[in-house]
């Protein structure tokens, strides 16, 4: 039931055919036919959440209409079926990340919960007074806050890798921050506000040189590039299904098995327990030790369908197409007088953040919306990034493989309209 879209498969097998047939891909996404304020929807807010292909919606419906039951708990047919599909989804996530063992894949609500898990479990166990956690200047709020709370609780310190004007991390400074008290490095792979792809392999290698584990926030990278946790050698990796063309409320934390084994449970509840007496509780083995209570079964199955769909097209082809689109967008936006792109790293993906003259991004967003164009405006949960560039907020267009050059053209036309209103 969770097989990929047959047409996408055809596409993949016909790789030699070359051209990326975006018109056909758009057919897979029902929402792209919607009109907004009477105009065709131009969806350029993919970094906030992605749209869902029909196969994902079908997988959800199939699960709820034909096999809904609780997992890991029943001898009856439906429960076994649900358990099997839920666990199959875990296997698909493992393959997507190129992890070696299903035990290393903890299903969580999303990136935020995955990071909380590491902060609460690994952090509380391993970080003490005077210790240091290194993060980067372009982290998501959700990140900064977890580590801040942990540091306050433990008397530890947060160290921040600065960046240059293009939005690239200063690796020399990182080197200097790594010290005997560093207990954890936690870095965003692809920045949601700048589009920078950070050199995570190098960051991890340098940390490992000092025996320090590294967590990678893959919320934005997972939908736009091939992930290989094995090659990367990260200790933890987190992502959200809803940004990867899957449902909301599901995501995964990858952790190296020996690390996860050594960590205490994060939440308590059903499924995470092997045996309970009033004297002693024995925790379940991995990954269930970290999955308390009834999980998001439908969500996991939907995410599994999204992964099948992506595999049918091929992440490398999607990424190549998106890269072309990003270059086209960069070129088009650069021609608009008074527009400044924020985030101009050499290694970049998917994000076009900008400010326009003295027009507030909020006003840009409203006028674009009236043209059916959805972008994000604001500080994108990265207020320190805004402070770094001395701007209160940006307007952000973020791309996916179902966007087209026409979408970019519509954006440019919309921006012309903004300028007209404010001239």
């Amino acid at each position: 039931m969770t097989t990929a879209n047959p047409r996408a498969n055809e596409n993949a097998s016909g790789k030699a055919a070359g051209a990326f047939d975006v018109a056909r891909i758009r057919e897979d996404f029902p929402i792209l036919k919607e009109k907004v304020h009477g105009k065709p929807l131009v969806y350029l807010d993919n970094a906030a959440t992605s749209q869902k292909p029909r196969v994902v919606l079908d997988a959800l419906e199939h699960y709820y209409t034909t096999e809904n039951a609780n997992v890991h708990r029943g001898v009856h047919y439906l429960s076994q079926q649900a358990t099997q599909d839920y666990e199959a989804a875990r296997g698909k996530i493992r393959q997507l990340l190129n992890a070696s063992d299903d035990r290393e894949i903890i299903l969580v609500r999303g990136t935020t919960e995955g990071i909380n898990l590491v902060a609460q479990s690994y952090g509380r166990q391993n970080i003490g007074e005077g210790d240091e956690i290194i993060i980067s200047a372009m982290e998501h709020h959700s990140y900064i806050v977890h580590w801040q709370i942990l540091c306050q609780e433990r008397g530890a310190h947060l160290r921040v890798i600065p960046m240059n004007d293009d939005g690239e991390l200063l690796m020399d400074e990182y080197e200097k921050l790594l010290g005997p008290r560093t207990k954890l490095v936690s870095i965003v792979h692809l920045s949601n506000s700048l589009g920078t792809i950070n050199p995570v392999e190098q960051i991890i290698e340098m940390a490992h040189g000092r025996g320090v584990p590294v967590l990678i926030d893959g919320a934005q990278s997972t939908p736009h590039m091939t992930i290989d946790v094995h090659k990367m050698d990260c200790d933890f990796f987190v992502f959200s299904g809803h940004k990867l063309y899957g449902p909301t409320g599901i995501g995964a934390l990858y952790g190296k098995a020996d690390l996860l084994e050594s960590m205490p449970p994060y939440q308590s509840g059903g499924d995470m327990i092997k045996s309970v007496t009033f004297e002693k509780t024995i925790y379940n083995s991995l990954p269930y030790k970290f999955e308390a209570g009834t999980p998001n079964i439908g969500g996991a199955i939907g995410l599994g369908a999204a992964i099948d769909y992506i595999n049918g097209i091929g992440m490398d082809r999607m990424a190549a197409y998106e890269h072309e689109l990003l270059e086209y967008g960069t070129e088009r936006l650069s021609t608009i007088s008074g527009l400044r792109l924020i985030g101009t790293a050499r290694e970049k993906a998917d994000v076009l953040s900008f400010v326009l003259r003295d027009i507030h991004p909020h006003d840009i967003g409203t006028i674009l919306d009236s043209e059916g164009i959805a972008i994000r405006t604001g500080h994108h949960c990265t207020q320190p990034v805004m402070d770094r560039f001395s701007i209160p907020a940006t307007a952000r267009a973020s791309l996916a493989f179902y966007n087209t050059r026409e979408d970019i053209d519509a954006l440019v036309k919309g921006i012309d309209k903004v300028i007209e209103v404010f001239s």
Binding site: K35, V36, H37, G38, I359, H360, P361, H362, D363, T366, I367, S370, T377, G378, H379, Q383, M386, P392, A393, K417, V421, F422
Partner: protein
């Protein structure tokens, strides 16, 4: 789905609004204000700091500073003009009238006349997410007055 053609954008960004946004009135720091209130919209980062100096129970000087979108800043600027020489009760009355306008209530002729330039913000009603922007400064006013009264009764 609700539609807004381009003229609703024109209606939103009325001349008065763009004019006050570009050249805000009363964007001044007031020394030793009697009422001062700092209001944020954490969602979009809009901010208005409102300052009032009173004399004989009436607003003698009104000033604001802050940053944000055209609607939030223009609303603060227009509001400053309309507060001068008003008692706190009259200011609150005006605030409640403006709030009712934003919430889509139909106002009487008199009320509309009383609003003066503030009536230009009617166009915002069609843009529900922006109503908060228009009300930011007014929330600061109401909270500021409430805080002032609490301090006075202590």
């Amino acid at each position: 789905m609700q539609q807004f053609p381009f003229d609703e954008i024109d209606e939103l960004y009325r001349k008065v609004i763009l004019d006050h946004y570009r050249s805000p009135r009363n964007m001044v720091e007031i020394g030793e204000p009697d009422i001062e209130y700092d209001e944020y919209n954490p969602v979009c980062g809009d901010r208005v700091v409102l300052q009032l100096k009173l004399s004989d129970g009436r607003v003698e000087e009104a000033g604001f500073h802050g940053e944000g979108c055209s609607i939030s800043q223009a609303s603060a600027s227009v509001m400053m003009d309309s507060l001068k020489r008003k008692t706190l009760e009259e200011a609150e009355q005006l605030s409640s009238t403006f709030r009712r306008l934003m919430q889509g209530h139909t106002l009487s002729e008199d009320e509309l006349t009383g609003l003066g330039n503030l009536a230009a913000f009617q166009g915002v009603r069609k843009f529900p997410v922006r109503i908060k922007c228009a009300l930011l400064a007014w929330t600061a006013l109401e909270e500021g007055i409430a805080e002032y009264r609490r301090a006075g009764t202590r």
